[in-house]
Amino acid sequence: MKEIVVISGKGGTGKTSIATSFAVLGANDIVIADCDVDAADMHILLQPKNSISEDFISGELALIDQDACTQCGKCFDVCRFDAIDVNNGIHIVDELSCEGCGYCARVCPVEAITNIPQNIGQWHIAETRFNQPFVHAKLGIGADNSGKLVAHVKNKAKEVAKELNKSFIIVDGSPGVGCPVVSSLSGAHFVVLVTEPTVSGLHDLKRVYELVKKFHIKAGCIINKADLNKQKAEEILEFMKEEEIVHLANIPYDETFTEAMTDCKAIVEIEDSEVKHLIIDAWNKVKEINK
């Protein structure tokens, strides 16, 4: 079983459209994991059914029992997150700032502080409209610990893939290079980088690839909107050559991308489009590399 992670560094380059197309092409030999847990979109195209949902509990927040509190201020003194507000001498926890380290509870002389486990979102296991196993999640608003939810979604997908003996897990990742991305890369076998020939596309590709290298994972790259700026596209190709990144496809600027999404379809479901064949070729290359 091989885990293929689709990421980009920069947002909006077409990660989810590509990952969903791979999912459709993978037919009955894959499990799909949407790991962009704080802005998940794959479900819009895959329209899951028979969904089973569960809360995800992770991390804690401090709560001060005002009946027990002597307002001594020790919690305020030790908190490094400015999460203890003092209003007219009353100490209360600012929930948005509290990172659940538990230090305050440990130093409270009257044990007035408890750490409350947090429900930070929900995860779901379902079937796509193509009857493929699909694990996805929704992080609670402003929640911490997105990396942990990503790891959870991936582990569930892995369990299902093993149980049903599937060859691939397709993982749709988050933009950026922070904790959810690190979490989605851990344990992956191959990375598909989706980029665009813009100054920011290349800049962000280089940063996210620096992270991929730390994990020693082999990568391939798709240049989306490749004809938008030929010079930038050349620069990306050069970068790929230097770094031995496999060139998977150049996809031209094509309104089919948005039209397919507007119809809630994967691009490869649009008949007779040039883009469809380019993505099929790219998927075949990914399969070949990860045989």
Binding site: G9, K10, G11, G12, T13, T16, D38, A39, D41, I44, G59, E60, V78, R80, F81, L96, E99, G100, C101, G102, Y103, R106, V107, N115, L139, I141, G142, A143, D144, S146, G147, S174, P175, G176, V177, G178, C179, V181, V182, E196, T198, V199, S200, G201, H203, D204, R207, V208, L211, K214, K225, L228, N229, K232, Y253, E255, T258, M261, T262, C264
Partner: protein, 286 residues
């Protein structure tokens, strides 16, 4: 006045709006643009600016000093992030998991885990011909953006007075980095595209801003693609749409080269004018 530009979905035009709005506003007002998307800072790619000042930013992590350590294991017990582990006769620290809460260090009975500074990023302060620009960039491999965003805002607060218009280019998503980048803002602009993905993520972003009790308005980018869902939703829910930037391949081409639009595409200038008057009305009220 602080204005954060956020989006939910990535790639909807946060940086395009932040840079062009800053340049436009700077024609008549004092402006500082702050790139708080520290994982992938892009605003600087679109600006001609000279470096004025730079500094490394650090987070504090514990470092084990074995001399006096009795291997009591208290550090491991008090760490809620599993960032400190006792393995056999060693204490191991995992800096990327550490939140710098100091509990292991200050509660160690033998002071064997002093806190030391570890570089997490760089802050750079630039000057363009008519406004200031500050960006911070996270060291690759460092997982937590929040401490760097926090320190960057502290720098901005110390250097610029209240009458300067501060534009925060925020990270995508709805999780902790976005909260940190927007929670001190007086007003939030949510930029989206009128597609099913844009709409879905906009609703998440709106939910986030309501949770934070923030005043916000919408800018629709790539207007003309997709469908009317975003527009209808905003009308039904009385959410102001303050500008619509057209879908135009010429804009995409200029963007790809790292060029600003406000002085080249007349329609963009008109839309920036509309955003600007909305912002200045709010500034009056504050």
């Amino acid at each position: 006045m602080k204005i954060a530009i956020a989006s939910g979905k990535g790639g909807t035009g946060k940086t395009t709006l932040s840079t062009n709005l800053s340049a436009y506003l700077a024609e008549k007002h004092k402006v500082v643009l702050v790139d708080l998307d520290v994982e992938e800072p892009n605003s600087g790619l679109f600006l001609k600016a000279d470096l004025h000042y730079s500094e490394d930013k650090y987070k504090m992590i514990p470092e084990w000093n074995s001399t006096a350590c009795t291997l009591c294991g208290n550090c491991q017990m008090v760490c809620n992030y599993h960032a400190v582990l006792r393995i056999m006769d060693d204490i191991m620290v995992f800096p990327e998991l550490c939140h710098s809460c100091y509990a292991c260090s200050e509660l160690c009975p033998t002071n064997s885990l002093p806190m030391v500074a570890k570089k997490m990023g760089e802050l750079k302060h630039f000057k363009t011909s008519n406004f200031d620009f500050i960006e911070s960039r996270l060291v690759i491999g460092e997982e937590q953006a929040v401490p760097l965003i926090k320190q960057t805002q502290t720098y901005v607060d110390s250097k610029f007075s209240d009458d300067v218009i501060k534009i925060f280019d925020s990270p995508p998503g709805t999780s902790c980095p976005v909260i940190e980048a927007t929670k001190d803002a007086d007003f939030i602009i949510l930029i989206t595209e009128p597609t099913p993905f844009g709409f879905n993520d906009l609703k998440l972003a709106i939910e986030t801003m309501k949770e934070l009790k923030k005043e916000f308005a919408i800018v629709i980018n790539r207007h003309g693609i997709g469908n009317d869902d975003v527009n209808n939703y905003c009308i039904e829910n009385n959410i102001p749409i303050i500008a619509k930037i057209p879908n135009d391949k010429e804009i995409a081409k200029l963007y790809s080269k790292g060029e600003l639009l406000y002085d080249k595409i007349p329609e963009v200038r008109i839309q920036l004018g509309s955003i600007c008057s909305y912002i200045l009305d709010i500034k009056e009220k504050i």
